[in-house]
Amino acid sequence: MFLDISDDQDALLTTVSAVLARARSRLVLGGGKASFDLELDGDLEKGGVLDAASYPEFGVSTAALVVHEVCRSASIAEVAASAVIRPLICPEAPRPLAVLTGDPTQAIRFLPVARAVLVLSEAGASWFPVTADDVEMVEAYFAYPVGRLRDPDRCLSRALTVTDPGLARRLAQLAVAAEITGVLQGGLDSVTAHVTDRRQFGRPLGTFQSVQHRLAACASKIAAAKWLAFKAGGAGATHTDVVTALASAQTIVDAIVYDLHQFLGAMGLTLEHPLYRWTYRAKLLKSEFGGASRSHRELAELTWP
């Protein structure tokens, strides 16, 4: 066991941090809910950090680590599918990569910026390239750019089958788990800074025990979910490990999002503060793969068949 970041991973995170710092410097808030930092997305790809899963010295745990770190940022890029799934399942697919897990007519996150779509269904897994002509924009309720396929049948007709649909699904579940832990950590970082600086009743909000205990409980839940996600990417990890990570991440979203907004107060209701960039991603991610209820049932069925 070695439950820490290795020197190699640390070097990789240094690259990620530099890219994120540049993204932070150009972050503009106050526009619409959905956002996508095309430059950040390109920098991550050029930096090579999205390929870590395919390198023996790194593997999927490192990809999950990269996803977690990038998703802590208020700047949004397509990282989870590209870092966790694509290197092992469809490296030939262009990116950004959107993932379709249900009804082909549904709204799909990242579709407006995607150049390929990975399809996970009962029948198997496949991917197809997309262009802007294939996509119609959907008004964003969550923080992601969201779109819908104009003609799903035509898109699916050019899909290429992937060889290991079971692995593709497990990696997609793991990608969501890592994405959730990252966005929740980003929100917690932001709110922790706020309650440290913001003074009410003559003292910082963060000195009130009611605030301290709830944020500490959030920290414990996020830390556990994060390490479960990293473990689920480790050598020898099982499907049960992956579903444990997904269920654990999805189940903590509601309570943490509630607390983060409570402690940021009215500031968190505005689009001029980035909190929604984390919480509104979490709100959508918690429903992926049927949501926490389905994930917990899947865990129970895998453990006690």
Binding site: F2, L215, A219, A223, A247, T251
Partner: protein, 380 residues
């Protein structure tokens, strides 16, 4: 990152499992129903721990010259996991091997080591910890029990409360104050519970027979040579001892075991097809795995010689949540099992879950530590 056991660690776990399969008697779980502080469990632990010692599995993490085998931090922890997976048959002696013995080994005089270490290593000793007082529970530094110098002795006066195992213990790891206040002036004494002036009153409790006591010290004369460490400097020793205690309890193993047994009963009675039951079972299992991961993270840090930090408090919070998730699952869907003997470990697990958030520093204390030392929130 590496989440895999080494061949040696796996072999060590297998060795423990073989021992348990061989040495745990068929009525062990029935004995465990009486609770960890019960006379039945304490007597059983003396026999069982002696066998563990003979097999080199009681204090494997201790130095070889002290009866151990120099096992790694991870191997020590694996031992704890396997013990908790069967309901912790070491009973009160888990304290001896996890933190009382190591604290004496690190800070004790040669005389103290010679007096206490061999019997702990042989599985013959039962200790209690004289920490909490009527006005010093979570706020341990406010303890008032006095130790006043009288020639070569100290005279101890005061009382302790909620003291586990005191009724059957031979020795007490006692905190008392010689001077000062808060963390200054506190001393540790290693004393016999047979010393004149000590009176023990059992307290009827939810957490099993014989678990909680009041201990009164009325002019108890203790030789100065029974003091552990320097006079008035015990707080750092307490911190060392509690750091050992706080990750010494992989209770999620017992929770996982009980959860599996409850699911087995639900399958047998035809309830398992209910999606709500499956959801709650998965939720409880995920809580156990969350606790496991955070504890593993702490053990890993210790294995690499890193100083204790607030991550142990993160883990403690998760352990409490796991205990309650499993206990509540059992209560919600198999309440009849609490009135029968079908699942003997269910009752002790439930009782421990109640105590989980209170013992060894309440969950709220852990949250406070996380807030100040992990999140670095401002202090009030």
């Amino acid at each position: 990152m590496n989440f895999e056991w080494t061949t040696r660690e796996q072999a060590f776990r297998d060795e423990i499992r073989s021992f348990l399969a061989r040495e745990l008697p068929p009525d062990w779980e029935t004995i465990a129903r009486h609770g960890p502080g019960s006379k039945q469990q304490t007597e059983f632990s003396r026999i069982f721990c002696a066998k563990l010692a003979e097999a080199g599995l009681l204090v494997p993490h201790w130095p070889k010259e002290q009866g151990g085998r120099g096992s790694s931090v991870w191997e020590h922890f694996i031992l704890g996991e396997e013990m908790w997976a069967v309901g912790e048959p070491r009973g009160p002696q888990y304290m001896n091997v996890n933190w009382i013995g190591p604290t004496i080994l690190r800070f004790g005089t040669d005389e103290q080591k010679a007096r206490y270490i061999p019997e702990i290593a042989a599985g013959n000793a039962v200790w209690c910890q004289g920490f909490s007082e009527p006005s010093a529970g979570s706020d341990l530094a406010s303890l008032r029990t006095r130790a006043d110098r009288d020639g070569d002795d100290f005279i101890i006066s005061g009382s302790k409360v909620w003291t586990s195992y005191a009724g059957l213990a031979q020795h007490c790891f006692l905190l008392a104050r010689t001077s000062g206040n808060r963390k200054e002036g506190i001393c540790i004494f290693l004393i016999s519970m047979q010393t004149p002036g000590i009176n023990v009153r059992p307290i009827p409790a939810l957490v099993g027979n014989g678990d909680l006591h009041e201990v009164f010290f009325q002019d108890v004369r203790v030789p100065a040579s029974h003091m552990l460490g320097e006079e008035g400097k015990a707080w750092s020793l307490i911190t060392y001892a509690l750091a050992n205690e706080r990750i010494g309890l992989p209770r999620y193993q017992l929770s996982t075991r009980v959860l599996g047994e409850v699911v087995g009963q639900l399958k047998a009675n035809g309830s398992w097809s209910d999606d709500v039951i499956k959801f709650r079972a998965g939720q409880a299992l995920a809580a156990c795995e969350a606790a496991r991961m955070l504890v593993y993270r702490v053990v890993d840090q210790r294995s690499r010689g890193l100083p204790p930090n607030a991550e142990s408090s993160l883990a403690r919070v998760a352990i409490v949540e796991a205990d309650h998730a499993v206990a509540n699952f059992a209560l919600d869907f198999l309440p009849e099992a609490f009135s029968s003997h079908v699942l003997p470990l269910l009752k002790p697990h439930h009782e421990r879950a109640i105590a989980a958030g209170i013992a060894s520093g309440a969950a709220e204390i852990q949250l406070g530590i996380v807030a100040s030392d992990y999140l670095n929130l401002p202090r009030s």
